[in-house]
């Protein structure tokens, strides 16, 4: 078990290094730079600025310096926001993105499990058809369509909830998080319902469930204690990809609801060639995805006695 975790971490290190390297050189090869203005600045000033950020060095030197900084836990200064480090910028945006992501994940797992199980237990009943129809629609409609439509109907026409942004004084208040969280969770609810329905149908047909029923266990006990435990396994192995999808989805959600999260910072930084911020966000997201995948795999092993990692 411990050996398995160590091995996964050992594989993760070169993976992240490759990501850093590719992202670093991709940004530097590009035409244009962070200090391009509408009007070209005098060459001497330009040289001074470049020197201040160490960008007058040969590119391999810059690369090594960057890696050395990373090893010390220093992501470097932002090239666009004066007096701000990349860590500051991420520190501002990450809580917003993480809150929305965690809430969406919880919502998706809870609702998806219930929907899927109910559909499976009432197979070919109206409630089953409703869940299947919902899942089909939910997978097809992307968040960037659902988001604006929800903001328009519930936010603007009905006026029940604010349609976007955060109150700068109050921060993340529930009323401003509801719509983004639902929008982000919707496709995942659809996928998880589908997964749960399929695996639950398979499980309740198996022999051990019939045995449990035959020995007189009540229906809820059979479902909760016996069926759910193994039916949930495909869902657990989906958690890794799901978290990746949520991280990606947050980019659009933050744009639609104008939330000051990390996804929006990433797009803006990329557009403005703020190299260090882009790198910081990519490293953070890559590490997060690798970590969440590892957790999902460990959870899978913990829940499934057939799987042993060693």
């Amino acid at each position: 078990m411990l050996g398995y975790v160590l091995r996964r971490i050992l594989v993760a290190i070169p993976t992240i290094l490759v990501i850093i390297t590719v992202a670093f050189f991709m940004m530097r090869i590009a035409p244009g730079g962070p200090f391009d203005l509408e009007r070209p600045m005098p060459e001497e000033i330009r040289q001074n600025i470049l020197a201040a950020y160490g960008m007058d060095q040969p590119i391999w030197k810059q690369y090594l310096d960057y890696l050395a900084g990373l090893a010390r836990g220093d992501l470097g200064p932002s090239l666009k926001f004066r007096d701000m480090d990349v860590a500051d910028i991420i520190g501002q945006g990450f809580p917003v993105s993480a809150t929305i992501g965690l809430l969406s994940m919880t919502l998706a797992v809870l609702v998806g499990t219930v929907f899927g199980s109910v559909a499976a237990l009432r197979q070919n009943n109206p409630s089953d058809y409703a869940v299947v129809a919902f899942a089909t629609v939910g997978i097809v409609i992307p968040p960037f369509v659902v988001g604006p439509i929800l903001a328009l109907t519930i936010g603007i026409y009905l006026g029940w909830l604010p349609s976007g942004g955060l109150d700068p004084r109050l921060g993340m208040t529930p009323d401003r998080l509801i719509l983004p969280v639902i929008t982000l969770a919707l496709p995942q609810i659809a996928i998880i319902s589908r997964l749960m329905r399929a695996s639950m149908i398979e499980v309740i047909r198996s022999n051990y469930i019939r045995t449990a029923r035959a020995k007189g266990l009540s229906a809820p006990a059979v479902i909760v204690k016996h069926a759910l435990r193994s039916a949930i396994l495909p869902l657990v192995s989906y958690l890794g990809p799901a978290s990746a999808a949520l991280l990606t989805g947050s980019i659009v959600i933050e744009q639609v609801f104008s939330l000051p999260g990390i996804g929006r910072q990433f797009v803006n930084a990329a557009l403005q060639r703020d190299y260090t911020v882009v790198m910081g966000v990519v490293i953070l997201y890559a590490s997060l995805i690798i970590l969440l995948n590892l957790i999902a795999d460990l959870l899978y092993a913990a829940l499934n006695p057939k799987v042993k990692y060693d």
């Binding site: 090869i29 960037f144 369509v145 604006p148 903001a151 328009l152 980019i251 797009v267 990519v282 997201y285």
Partner: protein, 301 residues
């Protein structure tokens, strides 16, 4: 070139004379035609494709013509602006058709890119096996865990929003699953009795690949291609929504939805019609894909 070349084909001909045999594909076709949702989607998609490619040529309004006095007109039959006009005074119906055409093209071309990479990668790994297989699939595993969309975003920003680059970038992201499917199929087919039998009967390597491997790999690949097209369309729309996809004067459904979302408070139809068109298109691909899967591999139902 003679019509009957291999012994296997000769014996198939002889059998065919006695009992009218049905091939895998004929079987699949009849099963597909019995699936109402799939057939309906197929017809609807056909209509959409014809509209997207012929519509802009025939429609009375040009997609980039600006009517200065008709800005943000709601849908109306006057002047035949049946979807209304956008914030610049352009006919939304014409723009939706042009956008649909772009989305379909991106979907098909990028999927072909992913198909080419995935099939070559997966077939090589599966056929050669051993250490090379281990290494190649390990690379796929690692790539799976990367935040690819970030690299696509960086690519778009860095190298400009070039349409060829969109095809390649999205195609290069979506090939991983294809490689896995093809590898799995190739490995399981390599060990099948009928392949062994063919080999024992002295059928050449090339003929085995042509007669036994390719037709059997083709099924899952066709299904996966149909299901990848909507994923690619979504990916392109995602980029366009962020303002990183295709550029004006070209447009795609994602672009139109993005503009519609911006103007939705005053002109909600500029959001509704492109969004609806995209949803219908994606539904069609999904139903056709599901139908094909059920038809080609009935075990999976």
């Amino acid at each position: 070139m003679s019509l009957i070349s291999t012994p296997a084909e000769k014996s198939a001909m002889l059998e065919g004379a006695a009992v009218k045999g049905r091939s895998l594909w004929e079987d699949a076709q009849s099963r597909l035609l019995r699936n109402k949702a799939a057939v309906f989607s197929l017809v609807l998609l056909g209509v959409l494709v014809v509209l997207a490619f012929l519509g802009p040529l025939l429609w009375i309004h040009d997609s980039s013509h600006i009517y200065r006095d008709r800005v943000q007109l709601p849908p109306t039959f006057e002047h035949l602006h049946i979807f209304g006009t956008d914030a610049q005074g352009r006919d939304l119906f014409a723009r939706t058709l042009v956008g649909l055409r772009m989305s379909l093209m991106v979907g098909v071309v990028a999927t072909m890119v992913s198909l080419a990479i995935g099939v070559i990668w997966g077939a090589t790994a599966g056929f050669v096996g051993g250490r090379l297989d281990q290494l190649m699939m390990r690379i796929v595993d690692v790539l799976y865990s990367l935040p690819f969309i970030f690299f696509v975003i960086i690519l778009m920003v860095v190298f400009g929003r070039n349409i060829i680059l969109i095809f390649v970038a999205i195609g290069a992201v979506e090939w991983l699953t294809m490689a896995r499917i093809v590898r799995g199929q190739t490995i399981s087919l390599k060990g099948m009795e009928f392949v062994e039998a063919a080999r024992a009967a002295g059928v050449s390597q090339f003929s085995i690949i042509r007669r036994h491997i390719v037709p059997n790999v083709l099924g899952p690949v066709v299904v996966y291609v149909t299901l990848t097209i909507p994923v690619v369309i979504l990916a392109e729309s995602f980029l366009s929504f962020l303002g990183l996809g295709v550029q004006e004067p070209l447009t795609s459904l994602g672009n139109l939805i993005s503009n519609g979302a911006r103007d939705m408070e005053v002109a909600p139809w500029t959001l509704y019609f492109p969004a609806l068109t995209m949803m219908v298109t994606l539904f069609c691909f999904n139903f056709i894909g599901d139908g094909l899967r059920d038809a080609i591999d009935p075990k999976d139902r």
